[in-house]
């Protein structure tokens, strides 16, 4: 009786009236704009703002738009090159930083990893633009891939580091007794155990690369337009449901990957 009483009192204390409603509003604020955006992609009118009826015509139009397809392919080429590169670099760095104990370049190296997160995107974009321009390097998509690899590293790094930290080092020690040599320990124990973390890192890097806009806008030259940059030029041209349609598909794709990541990560935790 006593405890129950206490519990009610307790609940009473840490729940504030109105906070629940506020949180609902909060989620509404986050999601209603996205919802509206998606709704209007099914608008049959030429003008995004005026609803005239339900239609798939803008989606159909997307599939006949060569420029969108080229931009989409570019986006995927960039993400499929930059995300694995960033993941590989992040994996080796995480192994050295988490398993390497204390050493001289430790602080410096972790600083390097977080650097792309600290520097404002517009600064990175402008700096990379000047860098490539003054060196006269223009390799089309490869410029974009290099720039993406850089800012994808910290995103790939986080889940890998977390996975490594959660791993029981005793397993590896035990394996060392079994296999004696380091390489096979790494192959048979560390790597398989780390794979979910690496995959998570890859997925985050992939999403970040696919979504990037500002840096790509500044760095990309001819024939290297990615989907977000193309969408930007469409938005500038005026608000048409075609923009909504391509945006909805992009949103759906990102959400799909992130959801995948989430389930993946939950599995790791369990």
């Amino acid at each position: 009786m006593q405890t129950k009483n206490k519990k009610t009192k307790f609940r009473y204390v840490w729940n504030f009236p109105g906070f629940g409603g506020w949180t609902a509003i909060f989620f509404g604020f986050l999601y209603i704009p996205i919802f509206i955006l998606v709704c209007y992609s099914f608008n049959s009118s030429k003008f995004a703002m005026i609803w005239t009826g339900f239609s798939f015509r803008w989606y159909a139009k997307l599939f006949s738009n060569d420029d969108i397809q080229t931009a989409t392919i570019n986006s995927f080429i960039v993400a499929f090159a930059a995300a694995p590169l960033a993941t590989i670099i992040a994996t080796f760095s995480a192994l050295a930083l988490v398993r390497g104990g204390e050493f001289r370049f430790r602080e410096f190296s972790s600083g390097l990893i977080t650097l792309p997160l600290m520097v404002p995107e517009i600064v990175t974009a402008v700096a990379t633009l000047i860098f490539f321009a003054s060196l006269g390097i223009n390799l089309g998509l490869i410029n974009v891939i290099i720039a993406h690899t850089v800012f994808c590293i910290p995103f790939a790094f986080m889940p890998i580091k977390a996975a490594l930290e959660a791993m029981d080092p005793n397993l590896e020690l035990a394996a060392r007794d079994l296999y004696s040599d380091k390489t096979s320990t790494f192959k048979t124990i560390t790597l398989p155990l780390l794979t979910p973390g690496i995959l998570s890192g890859f997925m985050l890097a992939f999403v970040i690369s696919i979504d990037d806009f500002i840096i790509t806008l500044m760095v990309a030259g001819g024939g290297a337009t990615t989907l977000p940059v193309y969408i930007y030029s469409m938005v500038k041209m005026g608000v048409s449901p075609e923009v909504n349609a391509v945006s909805s598909l992009m949103l759906a794709f990102s959400i799909f990957i992130v959801t995948l990541y989430w389930f993946f990560n939950r599995k790791i935790k369990n």
């Binding site: 003008f47 703002m49 060569d66 420029d67 080229t70 080429i77 499929f80 090159a81 694995p84 633009l129 490539f132 321009a133 003054s134 060196l135 006269g136 390097i137 223009n138 089309g140 998509l141 790597l191 398989p192 794979t195 030259g221 001819g222 024939g223 290297a224 337009t225 030029s233 500038k236 041209m237 005026g238 608000v239 048409s240």
Partner: protein, 347 residues
């Protein structure tokens, strides 16, 4: 695991490989937004087997900045600057000399007065695209003025204040201001430029947005009533349903321009670019351009392929007595003044 990784690597390298292999039949065109007819590109692709990618920009300045930032290789094979920017780009070494423009089969169709134009006297760099003018347009149903003076745009009445839009970049706006004030283009006189600046700053109070893209959409939605505009593009807006969109031909004149195809430095698909230059000069193809963008062109024979819509286009007919003054390549001193005015305005 290893196998999978290998597969991924192989497929990635294949992607690179494939893009470079097919690069032979590719063309990257960098053009103004809403200025490239899809049917023309499709026709070119069908005739030549070359696949064309179009990227867009919103002003000569943006194009110039992009070419400068390319560091000698922008990835673009063709771009479409206006006459004075062709001059600047030649001076700055930003575009390639194109061999044998005069020997191109379709060059003969270019009207005599446009062969060897002042900005490219030997026709070493450019072939004609379209030409037109810059001024402003208004929705006649919501505006009581008649567009007879430049000042209607720069000193908007209360009726339209807050519903005016201006180009995002200075080159044409500053020239329009010069027309309004009666000063000359590329002025190096600080007093005259001060007057231009004062006019623009005064106008800014009534300006809703500075943008050179999506102009017709903005007028259509009623977001703005008055917009800096180009003659042909405003005609396109009319065709697309803004029936009462009227292009102003103020008594002070309009700013003329002549856009040309040029090849940015380091263009990789030179032959494809040349093929496109030649292709565009054919009367039938040039007419497709004009039918789409509603501008005049330098190929007289294209007239017989023009659509009826185009023949009856009211916004592109320059009334008698209205001067068309072409923008010039300003020297560095006056260009610096223009940039200063614009930077002051934009802050």
């Amino acid at each position: 695991m290893k196998g999978k990784l290998l597969k991924i690597l192989v497929s990635i390298s294949f992607l690179f490989f494939s893009t470079s292999v097919f690069a032979a039949g590719k063309l990257n065109l960098y053009n103004w937004a809403d200025y490239t007819p899809e049917d023309l590109i499709e026709k070119f692709e069908k005739e030549t087997g070359i696949s064309v990618t179009v990227d867009t920009y919103d002003s000569n300045e943006t194009l110039l900045a992009k070419l400068q930032a390319g560091g000698g290789s922008t990835g673009y094979d063709l771009a479409v600057p206006s006459q004075h920017f062709v001059e600047i780009m030649i001076k700055e070494g930003l575009i390639e000399k194109v061999d044998g423009i005069k020997d191109m089969p379709n060059y003969k169709y270019v009207a005599d007065q446009f062969q060897g134009p002042s900005f490219d006297p030997n026709q070493d760099y450019s072939t004609p695209w379209q030409m037109g003018s810059a001024s402003w347009a208004y929705r006649a149903d919501s505006y009581s003025g008649n567009g007879s003076s430049m000042m209607e745009f720069f000193k908007p009445s209360d009726e339209v204040c807050g519903k005016v839009a201006v180009f995002k970049s200075p080159e044409e706006v500053v020239n329009m201001a010069h027309l309004a004030l009666g000063s000359s283009f590329c002025s190096e006189d600080p007093n005259e430029m001060q007057a231009v600046m004062d006019l623009l700053i005064e106008q800014k109070k009534c300006v809703a947005v500075y943008s050179s893209e999506g102009i017709n959409e903005r007028l259509m939605s009623g977001e703005v009533i008055m917009h800096a505009h180009w003659d042909g593009y405003s005609q396109v807006g009319k065709w697309e349903g803004v029936d009462d969109l009227t292009y102003a031909y103020p008594k002070e004149g309009v700013v003329g321009w002549f856009d040309s195809l040029v090849m940015p430095k380091g263009a990789k698909n030179v032959e494809e670019a040349k093929a496109f230059m030649n292709f565009v000069m054919h009367p039938e193809n040039m007419a497709m351009l004009s039918n789409f963008a509603a501008y005049a062109n330098a190929i007289p024979e294209s007239a017989k392929y023009l659509s009826d819509d185009m023949k009856n286009a009211t916004n592109i007919q320059v009334p008698d007595g209205i001067p068309v003054k072409f923008g010039q390549a300003c020297n560095k001193e006056s260009q610096a003044l223009i940039d200063k005015v614009w930077t002051k305005l934009m802050q």
